[in-house]
Symmetry: C2
Subunit: 240 residues, 2 copies
DNA sequence: CCAGCACTGTGGTCCAACCACACTGTAGGG
DNA sequence: CCCTACAGTGTGGTTGGACCACAGTGCTGG
């Protein structure tokens, strides 16, 4: 056991020490969202490691959406604790898609799963639905595919938020983000963008109506058809 | 637009250059899982950045489960491309749980959602189910809570794998990993571990039987009850 | 024949210095 | 008296160089 104990420390790369310290500060509540980490140089001295190692740890936390580093002085400066799981999960998924080890079809399928659930569980009086309705109006006058898709993303995220499960919302957002480029390229496959956009708008209204009408089952079905229909039309078809 | 163009490059921290280069190599297929990155010093020279920046990028990719760095020589040395999304998502979720921005109740609820779906969709002739059955046998003779829980994790992961959606499997695993410590602490709340373990074993057998008996709906229901029942008994109760 | 050792190339760590940035306080002119 | 301009200070960002531990490779001497 002694050797294990030693090995435990020996095997731990230096930046892990920093990560562990910060995670413990977070768990114990000494460090909260909005709080600031000690300055890199200070932290390095406190933990008895080099600034390089501190920076590597901070880079990791930044990639995981846990902190944000800002130069200069003032309120936006320094390394401050944030909480943006979506960005972290999104870039991780995107990279793994790039390695061809996460099929796009599986991502779409998972998205259907999460969104159907969210639609079925959405609270009809959630403020997120008001935002969704507002986004629908903006989409009415949007002819540019890029702008339309951006609004579409926010609409679907609003629906997910209406279910009140932040984990589902975060995963939904990250799935969407990871295939955003992919979805954008798909618009080129569409024979008639204006017609497709019109159909999507109509389906959006139907989904929202089902939710506000307390018909969760119908909302879930409509969402699933909505997503699968789009990808089928745009060319992912066979692999669904 | 000129200023935007400039700003684009100016605002990009150096390690981002490296990340972008590597991601492009992955997307274009020049770098595949199992392949090796150029040595840090070489890459630094190629991209015209310092080795420090290269290392920061590699640290991020390591945290995201995209690469693994090994010292020394030989096949296990160097920085090699892997694909372990589960580890990445798991640590990200764990950290965000630590910041109290991801409620454990939401994680459990999401886990129920994903596992129910997987149980309903599991292919009865999947090899993963054979492993699940083998794990069940090992759990029969396991009296130690820690060992039991470790096998339990693998059992549930095997069930998820049987559905054939790697994204769902990865998310399942990461959810489980993010609350592993939490679940371990919960065993202390149980009045009678032996009785609980016996019940869990029985429920596991029921779930597996439902899947192999082509009754996906029943399997999904049993899984949901299984998970929710455990957390309810162990003390998360009210928040579910 | 092979045991042992020097060599080589890998990541791991640290240090010292410099830069860009953004706010703060002060000194100077109006 | 105000307010402009500037030096000061503390933050992260980046670099080059140095040294270490590690694990194969290949030579060298017994």
């Amino acid at each position: 056991m002694w050797s294990n104990h030693i090995k435990y420390y020996v095997a731990m790369r230096t930046h892990r020490v920093v990560l562990q310290w910060i995670e413990e500060q977070l768990s114990s509540g000494q460090l909260r969202v909005g709080g600031r980490l000690p300055a890199e140089r200070t932290l390095a001295e406190q933990l008895g490691v080099s600034r390089t190692s501190v920076r590597e740890a901070i880079r990791i936390l930044e990639a995981l959406g846990v902190v944000r580093a800002g130069v200069g002085s003032g309120p936006d400066a320094g390394t401050v604790v944030i909480s943006e799981p979506t960005a972290a999960l999104g870039s991780a998924l995107r990279l793994h898609v790039a390695t061809s080890h996460l099929p796009v079809a599986d991502i779409v399928q998972t998205r259907v799963l999460l969104e159907s659930w969210a639609a079925a569980r959405a609270l009809p009086d959630s403020p997120a639905l008001a935002e969704a309705a507002s986004l629908l109006e903006q989409m009415e006058g949007s002819g540019d595919p890029e702008e339309f898709l951006a609004l579409d993303v926010r609409f679907h995220l609003a629906l997910a938020d209406a279910a009140g499960n932040v984990v589902v919302s975060a995963m939904m957002g990250s799935l969407r983000e990871s295939i955003q480029d992919y979805a954008g390229r798909l618009t080129g496959n569409l024979p008639d963008w204006a017609a497709t956009a019109a159909r999507l708008r109509q389906e959006h209204r139907g989904i929202l109506a089902a939710i506000t009408g307390h018909d969760g089952a119908a909302a879930a079905r409509l969402v699933a058809e909505h997503i699968e229909g789009y990808y089928a039309e745009a060319g992912l078809g066979g692999s669904l």
